[in-house]
């Protein structure tokens, strides 16, 4: 035991000696939480629209004014001919062009009906859908205003909506769990895999292996400091998201910390597994960063809901641990549910951790080369 503690101390000294890595270790989560909170959003704000007004009457004037003063859209240009539409969309700043055909206002007043078209840039499908939805709503409102009908009169069903868990519809509720999940798995897997392959690559592993320490002790000693550091990281992220975004933990904080420990353990054992199959640090880094980053971001339900993907991705993503942790974290933090709701996910993560550890023990070689 004393030997083991001495070894853990050595590992801590290794980490603290490299203060730059340590700064980054705590800087990354902080910077990313802040960035996500303020930067990443899918709302429409100041999207560029252009107008092709072939009618030029009071009504088209009124509609375009309403669009530009809504706060969602900026007028980028007034076009003169159909050919200009392609040109301006190709420049990329304009997301949609609103075309009023000739005699639009006249038709609307005399015949009670007029047609206008919205030409949106479909190369960004999500923005295109949002922009056309917003524009349609603004134009419909403008029309109502002009004809003097109050908005409620045409509808005889009045829906009342309650946005559960996130009444203000903030994006933070989605990304804080995602960031914790992403950062923990990448950092834990990276750090452990690199620190073990480093000893291999430099040949110092040999020194450790001939020491009286048992292989299990070596691995545990390597992993222990990172376990503690990652756990501090979790607390830091939770504190930040609470202080900066006012996102409290609704459920039991002890349960959340316990689940985080399980997830960290799982990520660390994944790191050990990676280190047993790679001979150089480059290889370990390649597997844990290039191999895992995009699948974790895209297939875990972090940004894109898994339900919307084709069925096969439901199966593919079911082998990705982050998927389960995101569910756990959302349940505890945002929905405030208890262990009864997440025991399945917890069980899956436990099994995964066990499998990774088992595989690593099988792959671990006492002799080099």
């Amino acid at each position: 035991m004393k030997r083991f503690l001495g070894f853990v101390k050595k590992e801590f000294l290794h980490i603290f000696r490299d203060y730059r890595t340590l700064i980054i270790l705590f800087g990354i989560p902080a910077a990313q939480i802040l960035l996500f909170g303020y930067v990443v959003s899918t709302d429409i704000k100041n999207a560029g629209v252009a107008f092709l007004d072939l009618s030029k009457d009071e009504i088209t004037q009124k509609i375009s004014d309403n669009i530009c003063s809504s706060g969602f859209f900026n007028r980028t240009d007034n076009l003169l001919a159909y050919n200009d539409i392609d040109k301006i969309l190709k420049k990329g700043k304009t997301k949609a062009v609103i075309v009023f055909p000739k005699n639009f206002g006249g038709d609307l007043i005399n015949e009670g009906k007029a047609i206008l078209s919205i030409i949106a840039d479909g190369s960004e499908p999500n923005t295109a859908t949002l922009v056309t939805n917003y524009l349609t709503a603004i134009i419909t409102d403008a029309n109502r205003e002009m004809t003097g009908l109050s908005p409620g009169i045409t509808s005889i069903i009045q829906p009342e909506v309650k946005m559960f868990y996130n009444p203000a519809l903030k994006g933070h509720f989605m990304f804080v769990p995602g960031v914790i999940t992403l950062i923990l798995i990448l950092i834990c897997a990276l750090m452990t895999s690199v620190t073990i392959t480093r000893e291999k690559e430099f040949g110092t592993m040999e020194v450790l292996l001939v020491s009286p320490l048992r292989p299990v002790q070596i691995i545990l000693g390597k992993v222990m400091p990172y376990f503690i550091l990652s756990f501090i990281n979790v607390i830091l992220i939770l504190l930040l998201s609470w202080l900066v975004f006012g996102l409290p933990v609704k459920g039991s904080i002890i349960l959340l910390l316990g689940e985080s420990m399980l997830y960290i353990l799982m990520s660390l054992s994944l790191g050990i597994l990676i280190s047993t199959v790679s001979s150089t640090m480059q290889q370990a880094i390649f597997i844990s960063l290039v191999g895992m980053m995009l699948p974790t971001i895209l297939l875990s339900g972090f940004i894109f809901p898994i339900e919307n993907m084709p069925q096969i991705y439901n199966w593919i993503s079911s082998v990705l641990p982050p998927r389960y942790f995101i569910v756990i974290i959302k349940n505890i933090m945002i929905k405030g549910t208890g262990f009864m709701y997440i025991w399945k996910e917890t069980l899956i993560l436990t099994v995964m951790a066990a499998v990774f550890i088992g595989l690593s023990i099988r792959n671990f070689r006492i002799r080099l080369g």
């Binding site: 969309l89 499908p125 995009l294």
Partner: protein, 372 residues
């Protein structure tokens, strides 16, 4: 010139000596691209609905069948207790609870407004908004049916109508694959070049082999260029392979000039590799480099506009994007591939990329010291 050539050859030999890296460089981006591109979509295919129908009249059933008819909503469960419905929402078994209270049908028939309650799981705010919008669409249709059926009960003079026609150019069907492929491909190429080039230099430092180069008459710029070129070539090959496969697997349209796209990608890679080498000149260990690289890459990617529109970022973040090479690449890739933008349309982005590339490469050359 010959020196650079020999150095480049040395780098290639070194890269491909590690069998795993040699294969992974080509296999990983292509496999990931093929798997990830079809997965990514913001489109909502089905929202699971739980119905609480306390009314049980023809009117309430009419509304429910209207909802069933919509492709977005899938009736998962029906119950009479609010509590049970809330449990389902908690468990994630449904995302929308539609509560039709008793008296709904009577109100409608007697010309009053019928009230219903919708509870939406709003953890994902954008999904919640879309769900709400679709639900409103269903209600609007239902309203319209009732009004036309019972025109004498509830006489309304329809106002002037504006009919709106939506057209989506460059991507009529709003196919997300067209949108994601150029983006994901760009990111994979970035990740590989950025990581491997930087690691390569730091590794020489860490193992000490850099001393052997330092004592030769190889000039600083020769050394840096020789470190850059192999990854530039690998990146372009990856890009070409990815595009050919994208065309074969997803039938991605290619409107613009291929040469222009490769020119831009080459400039972009020069910028990214320059930055990687610059960072590696002041990292002592591969671990250090990797963390800094990870930090930059996540920020570059998330601020590049690959998943979210750049316009929705706050002003200061948009200004910061001036030095984000990935943001330029995303824009250029999509504009050239999908819209067929010409060199004229994207000239400003190209100039900015060139300036960034020159700055990063010069920084890397200057920062690299031959004396330890």
């Amino acid at each position: 010139m010959r020196t650079i050539f020999y150095l480049i050859r040395k780098e290639f030999i070194q890269i491909f000596r590690n069998k795993f890296i040699g294969r992974a460089i080509f296999a990983v981006p292509i496999v990931q691209m093929l798997i990830l591109v079809p997965a990514v979509t913001f489109e909502i295919k089905n929202v699971d609905v739980c119905i609480i129908d306390n009314d049980l009249t023809p009117e309430s059933r009419g509304l429910i069948s209207q909802l069933e008819g919509s492709t977005f909503f899938k009736l998962k469960s029906a119950t009479f207790s609010e509590e049970e419905a809330n449990t389902l929402l908690h468990k994630g078994k449904c995302d929308l609870i539609l509560h039709i209270p008793a008296g709904f049908g009577k109100d409608l028939v007697s010309g009053y407004t019928g009230k219903i309650m919708a509870s939406i799981n709003a953890i994902n705010a954008s999904t919640a908004q879309l769900t709400w919008a679709y639900l409103n669409g269903v209600l609007r249709d239902y309203n319209f049916n009732i009004i036309t059926e019972n025109i004498n009960i509830n006489p309304i003079k329809p106002g002037n109508q504006i009919q709106i026609i939506n057209r989506y150019w460059y991507n009529e069907m709003l196919n997300y694959k067209y949108y994601m492929l150029p983006g994901i491909l760009g990111i994979l190429v970035t990740a590989i070049g950025f990581l491997l080039a930087g690691l390569n230099l730091v590794r020489e430092k860490e193992i000490g082999t850099i001393e052997q180069i330092n004592v030769t008459p190889v000039r600083k710029h020769q050394f840096i260029i020789a470190k850059m070129v192999p990854f530039l070539i690998i990146g372009l090959i990856d890009l070409a392979a990815g595009m050919v496969l994208g065309k074969l697997a997803f039938n991605i349209p290619f409107e613009g000039s291929i040469a222009l796209l490769f020119l831009c990608s080459a400039i972009f890679l020069a910028a990214v590799l320059g930055l990687a080498l610059f960072i590696s000149t002041f990292s002592g260990t591969q671990q250090q480099f990797m963390f800094i690289a990870f930090f930059f890459m996540i920020i570059f990617i998330l601020m590049s506009g690959i998943f979210t529109p750049l316009e929705s970022m706050p002003g200061w973040a948009q200004k910061l994007d001036i030095i984000n090479p990935v943001a330029y690449l995303m824009r250029i890739n999509r504009m050239v591939m999908l819209k067929g933008s010409t060199i004229h349309d994207i000239s400003r982005d190209i100039y900015s990329l060139i300036i960034i590339a020159i700055i990063f490469v010069i920084l890397a050359v200057r920062r690299y010291r031959k004396t330890a």
